[in-house]
């Protein structure tokens, strides 16, 4: 196979100028291909770096998100446990280390209240029994009064008889003297009985008054208008049942909330499982990098083959073609920092001394890049359009 370079050094016979022209065109195309190969190789390298950055970003973000969701699951579990404790505590009270449900408390209060009512009733029954017993005593006392009256009547007659006996004894003179003494004794006895009867009547009257007094006391004990108790019982029952009802409603809502919290835990656990996508993404990105490496090797081999078979020199510096292609690529790239790295990776990597790009790190905007080199004059024009296309574009080309 003949060398392309040999076409330039040997005299050109007439009639073959067309072939020479074709040969030069072929050489230019091959050079262009080699330039493209350089751009492609550097692009593969730069894009591989981008893939590594993406993979690292995904891995870091996934770890952070996973940790946050783990924390959320933990908090949700704590919340569920707290609510379960609230549910348990809300329906119970602890009294002297004994745990009672609200129903038991209400039952106990109702029992105490009923016992109080029953005591009142028992008291009323006893009081009424006493009233009737006292009534019987009054009847007996009245009998005693009646008997006293009879004694007084008998005593009155006895006194009259003694008085008559005294008169008759006086008339009898000396013979009736002894009888007169007996008559005096009988009269004295009658007086004593009368005094005793008076005392007895006084005491019986006192008993009578005492019974009447007891009667009144028993009336005050037995006669309770229990309407207020009735209202109180109804009200206490109403309040207790309202309390239980409210507590049940409260418990239902808490249980619902606990269930929601459990669902939240399950959902978040599912989310954490979904984070395994990061492994798959990493594998896919690795696969892309491998493919890009293979493509790079193929183009590299093809470029070497081109150089060898056509005896042409490889491209050394950045050419206008290369700058134009890079310009075409970065026009499509909307992310400022990616564009910056691409330009650096593709254009600067060929010649470190060729200052075609200057990066303004001191800029307020981290992603802003300013390009000053005149060599990039032909790619400086699109800068205005880049800014117009996307507000995120922070690269200015001069």
């Amino acid at each position: 196979m003949s060398s392309i370079n040999s076409l330039e050094t040997q005299p050109v016979p007439e009639g073959v100028s067309a072939s020479i022209s074709e040969g030069r065109s072929l050489e230019a195309s091959l050079k262009k291909w080699l330039e493209l190969r350089h751009i492609l190789g550097r692009s593969y390298s730069t894009l591989g770096g981008e893939i590594d950055l993406v993979a690292a970003l995904v891995a870091t973000s996934t770890d952070e998100l996973s940790e946050l969701f783990h924390n959320l699951v933990g908090n949700a579990q704590s919340q569920s446990q707290s609510m379960e404790q609230i549910i348990h505590s809300a329906s119970r009270i602890t009294l002297d280390s004994e745990e009672l449900t609200l129903q038991e408390v209400v039952g106990f209060l109702e029992e105490v209240f009923s016992e109080g009512i029953m005591n009142v009733l028992e008291l009323a029954q006893t009081a009424m029994s006493l009233v009737y017993a006292l009534d019987d005593v009054v009847i007996d006392v009245n009998e005693v009064v009646k008997n006293i009256k009879e004694i007084e009547q008998i005593n009155k007659q006895t006194n009259l008889l003694a008085l008559n006996a005294k008169i008759e004894a006086t008339r009898a003179g000396e013979a009736g003297k002894g009888f007169g003494v007996v008559a005096d004794e009988v009269r004295q006895l009658s007086k004593d009985i009368n005094n005793m009867s008076t005392t007895l009547r006084t005491r019986v009257d006192a008993v009578h008054k005492g019974i009447e007094n007891g009667h009144e006391k028993l009336q005050s004990i037995a006669s309770l208008d229990m309407s207020s108790n009735l209202q109180a019982k109804d009200r206490i029952e109403g309040m207790m049942h309202a309390l239980i009802s409210q507590n049940e409603d409260f418990t239902r809502r808490l249980e619902h909330s606990t269930e929601l919290s459990r669902q939240l835990q399950n959902d978040m656990s599912s989310v954490i499982q979904k984070f395994q996508f990061q492994d798959r993404a990493q594998q896919q990105l690795d696969s892309i990098k491998i493919t890009m490496g293979v493509l790079n090797d193929i183009t590299e081999d093809l470029a070497v083959e081109t150089i060898t078979e056509n005896s042409i020199e490889d491209v050394e510096n950045t050419s206008e073609n290369m700058q134009g292609w890079v310009d075409t690529v970065i026009k499509k790239c909307t992310l400022g920092e990616v564009r910056q790295r691409f330009v650096q990776g593709v254009l600067l990597s060929t010649d470190g001394s060729n200052k075609i790009v200057e990066i303004s790190n001191a800029s307020d905007d981290d992603d802003e890049i300013e390009m000053f080199d005149a060599a990039l004059g032909d790619i400086s024009q699109p800068s205005a359009s880049l800014d117009d296309e996307d507000d995120d574009d922070n690269i200015e080309l001069f």
Binding site: L123, A124, Q125, M128, A222, S223, L224, M226
Partner: protein
């Protein structure tokens, strides 16, 4: 308080009217004597015309029950309404008196 005893072959019904309070204790005791004299087997206190009963009245019902148990006849109440029915329920007397 007024009462009227309707005795139908040992099954008596006492129809009350008015209030049954402490001041009626004498009348109530007379009623108990009347029932004892009639030698009933069972007696129903009809309270449908009673407007009010206090604790003394309830105590007298219990004394009647005591007398019934001693004499061997059965006492029950019926027809209670309003305040009287509430009072019997509050004191659970309707259970005690086979209401």
């Amino acid at each position: 308080m007024d009462y009227k005893i309707n005795n139908n072959g040992g099954s008596a019904t006492v129809v009350f009217s008015g209030d049954i309070t402490f001041s009626e204790n004498v009348s109530f005791r007379q009623l108990l004597k009347d029932i004892a004299e009639q030698q009933v087997e069972s007696c129903v206190f009809d309270l449908s015309s009673v407007d009010m009963v206090d604790s003394a009245g309830l105590g007298m019902f219990l004394i009647a029950r005591e007398q019934a148990e001693t004499a061997g006849w059965k006492l029950s109440v019926s027809g209670a309404q309003g305040h009287v029915a509430s009072m019997l329920k509050l004191t659970k007397l309707s259970d005690l008196l086979d209401g």
